[in-house]
């Protein structure tokens, strides 16, 4: 069969892949994409997007529970988890169709099946509904095959009783009890959803605190708020074994030198994800990798000329928005431009639990360990008029700055719309704003964003509203 030639062949259509494909097309390149699942990848179909839908359901349930607080009598209401999952599927389907629409709009050809490199510039597509294809890339191949859930040694994910996030977003059934192994963003978000829907949730984290990449104060507050919701949180807890039995699953846990067993109907493995690089033909091309991730240059090129890798498989933060940024860099580099490299120190981190968590830059502890004198300003949402009116006063904004220069070293937010509020600081850091520029920016009243202003003022030592 004759090879079909395109300027660029993108393998994988998750947020990295589809964005790079669109950017390549915008720059006048002909683009083929290869996808063995649905366009949009894990993020759109099985990750970020459906979980946001489920979390919105959880939020609505929570508001129903608080109806009396707002003077609303709601009798005889029922939250149907199966319908929550069905809604999330509709949301994901709509977004996946959106990606297909964008492909058509940008004249990007989508090939169904698994892609594998037979040379640096040739991708064989197999296993798709419409047969095998040979795609030849005139300029470059972009690998964007993402990642897959990891498990613990000896624990097999069956997506029924021992599930990954993929099982969690598709299972319409709701267990009576659930053990979540891993208290990163994924574990914490599912803990929020399931607990809100009445599941008895236990979160096990081997590290000393939940959301271990976040600031310590953030972890402490989330632990406190979750514990108040009867979510059992055990940190410093190592899982020794996961044993499915007739009446449930026994999870043996070792903590502080003692071992005990937690019983649950289901176990959710949320211990992280591994780069998906198998079967791509990387070994034959001697593509350099590092601890399972493909090694890339600042322009996202691998050790093989003309072969690019972006997203989860290329290391750094395994986040959709980081993958998208890398996709743009790769596309522009391939088109002959000189894109600014991704600034991995300025990628926002977001967890969409209640209250939300968002951060950018370094934690207070990391900043202190850096050896420079720092200024920390914190403002609680209890002192924000907008937050009080919303009835969402849990949380704070914490600004960590260099004391001498006012450089914004890190910002940590727990609270309503934290994941939206963080971008003021993301822009500030990109522009190299200092505390003064944030303070000189008039923030509308009343808004949650005022807390950003106040936390920044606090870092300068003179907050108004606290």
């Amino acid at each position: 069969m004759a090879a079909q030639a395109f300027d660029v062949v993108v393998v994988g259509t998750g947020p990295g892949g589809y964005v790079s494909a669109i950017r390549c097309a915008q720059l006048g390149l002909s683009v083929a994409t290869v996808e063995d699942d649905r366009p949009g990848g894990v993020c759109l179909n099985w990750g970020c997007i459906p979980t946001k839908s489920l979390l919105r359901n959880a939020e609505v349930v929570h508001l129903f529970e608080r109806a009396a607080e707002f003077g609303i009598a709601v009798n005889d209401w029922k939250a149907d988890y199966a319908q929550a999952v069905q809604r999330s599927r509709r949301v994901a389907d709509r977004m996946a169709k959106g990606v297909e629409f964008l492909f058509r709009k940008n004249k990007i050809t989508l090939f169904r099946g698994r892609g594998a490199l037979t040379s640096a510039k040739v991708v064989e597509v197999t296993g798709g509904a419409d047969g095998a294809h040979t795609l030849e890339a005139r300029r470059a191949v972009i690998l964007a095959t993402g990642s897959e859930p990891r498990s613990l040694p000896g624990v097999t994910i069956d997506e029924k009783r021992i599930i990954s996030s993929t099982g969690a977003v598709t299972n319409e059934g709701r267990p009576g009890s659930l053990v979540i192994i891993g208290a990163g963003a994924v574990g914490i978000e599912f803990a929020d959803v399931y607990a809100t829907y009445g599941v008895k949730v236990t979160v096990l984290e081997a590290l000393p605190r939940v959301l271990p990449v976040e600031d310590e104060e953030v972890s402490a507050l989330i632990t406190r708020l979750f514990s108040r919701r009867d979510i059992a949180i055990r940190t410093g807890a190592k899982v020794k074994s996961v044993t499915p039995g007739a009446s449930g699953i026994a999870v043996a846990v070792e903590a502080e030198g003692k071992t005990d067993t937690v019983q649950a109907d289901q176990v959710l493995m949320a211990v992280g994800r591994a780069a998906r690089t198998k079967g791509l033909g990387l070994e034959a091309l001697s593509v350099a990798t590092e601890r399972g991730f493909v090694t890339v240059s600042a322009a996202m090129e691998t050790s093989v000329k003309g072969l690019y890798a972006i997203g989860d498989m290329a290391g750094h933060q395994m986040l959709a928005h980081k993958a998208m940024a890398e996709g743009v860099v790769a596309a522009e580099a391939i088109a002959g431009q000189s894109p600014r490299p991704v600034d991995y120190g300025n990628v926002p981190s977001c967890t969409y639990c209640r209250p939300q968590v968002a951060s950018i830059g370094v934690s207070e502890a990391t900043a202190r360990a850096g050896g420079r004198e720092i200024a920390v300003g914190k403002f609680p949402f209890t002192a924000s008029g907008k937050a009080v009116a919303l009835g969402e006063t849990d949380g704070f904004i914490k600004v960590v700055a260099d004391k001498t220069t006012g450089e914004l070293l890190g910002v940590h937010i727990v609270g309503p719309e934290a994941t939206e509020l963080i971008h003021e600081f993301a822009v500030g850091r990109t522009l190299e704003a200092t505390l003064e520029e944030i303070v000189h920016t008039i923030h509308a009243h009343p808004t949650l964003s005022e807390a950003a202003l106040e936390a920044t003022l606090a870092a300068l030592g003179h907050p108004i509203h606290i």
Partner: protein
């Protein structure tokens, strides 16, 4: 041995100096030649270096403070020396070496270490010294390549953080190449500039050995470039009277002319050398005149001036209008910030401007805003001519051909290259002597053309 570190006098006009930065901490061991502090004067930032070896025992004047010339700013001594009374000593304790006579060939440099014999007194031996400026970091003369990114309006594009760090560390943003979007100066650029080796200290060319080749000549110092684009200076009563009267005698702009002949041998040779470099822009005589003019304008701001109502507007930027002959007449596109642009950049941009001027492709902003103009008729084999001032500018330089002509050198007649330049000045704004001094500087820069490259 105790060495007193005194605030050096770096120019006749200097009365006080400010310690910008101590490069060594109290307790640090220093040896002769180490740069220990940075001093800011009214004209420049300079580094001072240790003469004696020992320990920097005491910093008397903290960073950011200004003190009169000759004041004790620090003490270098052996760890065992008692400096208690010294640190508390009244200021004029030391003789004022700052008032040393101007250096002449046979006089010892001011503030050299005292002769060893001086150590035999009853007090611990003390040395007072004036550090010789290690490097006179005069703003516009510093590596000009760095200035190429400045936008035409003279505004420095820098992030707030970069500005702040620069302000705290004394880095001059105008000399930095920005690497952010659109050439914006961002933190890493300032940090890189800080980390960059200090030219003179690294080269070790300091002290009397580095004296200029013309010992009688004052250093060619262009004053620092002010932040402001311009300033309006109130007219003195006499100036107001001149301004009022002169147009009546020769309306509308009273011109006067000053002509000078420039020895172009060195410039010609340098130009040939530069143009033999492969891959470098070709430099024309006009380009060299533009650069020399721009630097001379910065040193003689009174010539870079124009009448502005009742005030005289003195420009701090050298935006040079280049008269370009067209079939239907003449146009004067503006080459901005020539004082800080390197010669190669001037060559490239002036060629581009001239070509686009001939093609009718100039942009509006390229046709206005000159602070001074140059008209070169050299290519028409014109020995000299006088140009008409291009209002509202206050002066224009007319440039003749570089001609081979017999010159007398040490009693011998040889063939030399000479060029005549004539400045036309607005007498309401300036006087003949100002124009003459300006021409002297243009002449000197062209006769010592390496100055155009630094």
């Amino acid at each position: 041995m105790i060495t007193k570190v005194l605030m050096p006098k770096l120019s006749d006009a200097m009365e006080t100096g400010k310690v910008i930065k101590w490069l060594r901490k109290e307790g640090d061991t220093v040896k002769g030649g180490d740069v220990i502090a940075e001093i800011e004067t009214d004209k420049a930032n300079v580094e001072i270096e240790a003469f004696g070896s020992g320990v920097l025992r005491k910093i008397v004047v903290p960073e950011g403070d200004s003190v009169p010339v000759g004041d004790l700013i620090g003490v270098i001594a052996d760890p065992s020396d008692d400096i208690a009374n010294l640190a508390a000593a009244p200021k004029p304790a030391a003789p004022k070496p700052a008032a040393a006579p101007p250096a002449t060939a046979n006089a010892p440099a001011a503030g050299r270490p005292a002769a060893p014999a001086a150590a035999t007194g009853p007090l611990p031996a003390m040395e007072s010294y004036q550090s010789v400026p290690a490097t006179t970091q005069v703003v516009p003369m510093a590596p000009a390549a760095a200035a190429t990114v400045q936008p035409a309006d003279g505004r420095v594009k820098a992030s707030p953080l970069a500005r702040k760090i620069a302000g705290q560390t004394g880095v001059d943003l105008r000399l930095i190449q920005g690497t952010g979007p659109g050439g914006r100066i961002i933190r890493r650029d300032v940090e890189a500039a800080q980390a960059a080796p200090r030219p003179a200290a690294a080269a070790g060319v300091l002290r009397p050995a580095a004296a200029p080749s013309r010992p009688d000549a004052a250093a060619f110092v262009v004053p620092p470039r002010p932040e402001a684009e311009f300033e309006d200076v109130a007219m003195t009563p006499m100036r107001a009277a001149i301004a009022k009267r002169m147009p009546m005698s020769k309306a509308p702009v009273p011109h006067f002319y000053v002509t000078s002949e420039v020895d172009m041998d060195a410039a010609w040779k340098l130009r040939e050398q530069l143009n033999s470099l492969e891959g470098q822009p070709k430099i024309s005589v006009t380009d060299m005149v533009v650069k020399a003019t721009a630097l001379a304008l910065r040193k003689n701001p009174g010539v870079n001036a124009q009448l502005n109502g009742q005030a005289i507007r003195v420009h701090h930027r050298a935006h040079i209008g280049l008269a370009v002959a067209l079939e239907q007449g003449l146009i004067t596109p503006v080459l901005r910030d020539c004082d800080v642009k390197p010669l190669g950049r001037i060559a490239v941009e002036s060629r581009d401007l001239a070509e686009r001027a001939r093609g009718g492709k100039l942009r509006a902003q390229e046709m206005s805003g000159a602070t001074f103009s140059i008209s070169n008729l050299g290519m028409y084999d014109v020995e000299e001519f006088s140009a008409i001032i291009n209002p509202p500018e206050g002066a224009i330089l007319a440039v003749g051909s570089v001609r081979q002509t017999p010159v007398v050198d040490d009693g011998e007649i040889r063939v030399g290259r000479r060029m005549k330049v004539t400045i036309s000045c607005d007498h309401r704004v300036m006087d003949g002597a100002m124009g003459a001094r300006f021409l002297q500087d243009v002449k000197r820069l062209l006769e010592e053309p390496l100055r155009l490259l630094v």
